[in-house]
Subunit: 281 residues, 2 copies
Amino acid sequence: MNQLQVASAASHDRGIVVPELRQRVAPMARAGSLHEMLHRMGVDGPCSCQGEVGLDAVPIWRVQQAAVLLHEGDGAQTLYVVRSGSFKRVRSLEDGYEQVLALVLPGGLLGVEALHGDIHPSSAVALEDSTLYALPAHALASIQQRCPALVEGLWRGVSRQLAQAAETAEMMAPVASDARLARFVLWLSRRMAEAGQSPRHLLLRMGRRDIASLLGVAHETVSRSFSLLADIGCLRVAKREVEILDLRALQQRARCTRGWVGASEGVVVPLEARDATPIAA
Amino acid sequence: MNQLQVASAASHDRGIVVPELRQRVAPMARAGSLHEMLHRMGVDGPCSCQGEVGLDAVPIWRVQQAAVLLHEGDGAQTLYVVRSGSFKRVRSLEDGYEQVLALVLPGGLLGVEALHGDIHPSSAVALEDSTLYALPAHALASIQQRCPALVEGLWRGVSRQLAQAAETAEMMAPVASDARLARFVLWLSRRMAEAGQSPRHLLLRMGRRDIASLLGVAHETVSRSFSLLADIGCLRVAKREVEILDLRALQQRARCTRGWVGASEGVVVPLEARDATPIAA
DNA sequence: CGGATACTTGATGAGAATCAACCCGGGTGG
DNA sequence: CCACCCGGGTTGATTCTCATCAAGTATCCG
């Protein structure tokens, strides 16, 4: 909310009205098939509900670069599945600092947090012109009952979302700044590969400032770390184009945690859940 | 896996065999009702499926302090709902560093990440003697179709999980170390309040080392920050017992982000999704 | 061209990681 | 029972990374 006021104030300062901003988020004429959406979510099996009325057509939305799809504090209950493009999930702290929480690529979900009736804890901003499938909560409930494949797909998406949250934490936690950046690049590379893109040539959709926020460092440090990795020979960096030259060396850099910590931690007990006797009831 | 070897090696060093460790994770004689579980997940409405055979009884597991419920790299597909106690989700990096990813309190979910067929990306360790409901994946699918309330509850849980991941990121990102700790304490206080516990008297279930990992600082720094907050008069700290003395001051401390960032960031566009025209299709 | 934004690089100081010593409580074993 | 060890916690001294401030370049837009 603070952020919103700031932003609109800034617009006023410059006297900009931006009339067509209203078109930044708009439905597309064409709708997508459920099967198509499920494919993008990683579910390739046959969809039993194909042909049922009202189920095979999923509305597609188009959003322009820098448009705000979800607004922090908003309560709208719609689940989005990214079809193309990319988004950043951000949260603006009280003092106006904008914390980047995650990067959402095709197949990823947006709006999950507000589904259970609460408000959105974070905003979603398009990093490029993007499209996404829109599933209103009420429709969602009815579709779920008739299409098990969708349920499967949603669970997949949610699982991945959570796994990625863990990866994010791993990137910003316990390491030197250049190691963080190395992890970020490797992470991006992995995800591009998953999406069928080239894992060596990366196009950063975010500016240095956003990357810095995601990694928990200053944006100058991101610049410096990029330069360092380039000097080492790991990367070739030109603006937002990054090429991975030496994967091994990059992984090496990413590995070195600063606080190595004595391994004999004692906390982890050598027991595994599967050893336990099977469940009763 | 690395972690596992280390742990067992450590046990060998000391010549400890610990025969009854096998009992660290065990089913309870009693089973819980679905309604009871849903209540703990935040769904208080009437459960339509009460009385149906095989639906009203959910197996309850009991785990002892420091036991490992889920193992990183494992593929078991069971969803757990924490009934009492608490867990930490951890991921052991290649070099043996143990990164704490999240703290899971009653009502929270464990095992979501492995539901879509992949392996667990993180382990779950009990911070105290705890109990949880166990829902095997195959049972889950069938129950979901017959009990909409469960679906609702699961979505709630997943939403909260994601929201908490964001909060975690917020805690470790862009601030001075004492501000991080202040945020952590406030966060814990809030969650204790949600659980019906006292928000002023907190009992830390994690050691300094785990807190440090969660916040992304050295464990000595956690100690120092605790001392500092105590000197300020915000807290009273005795080992793992923490009492909040001055809430306002604590919030003040938590607020001050180091990287204030020029607010006129330009990234956030003053547009809201709800302005857009309603969906087609 | 001026203005704005993104990115890079340098100099400097502060804060935190690191190393090290110490206290304390609980468990083990003599 | 006491001495001992071990892990957890606290605190101090030192080093060094990184945030900050500042200046300079490049690119895009009106």
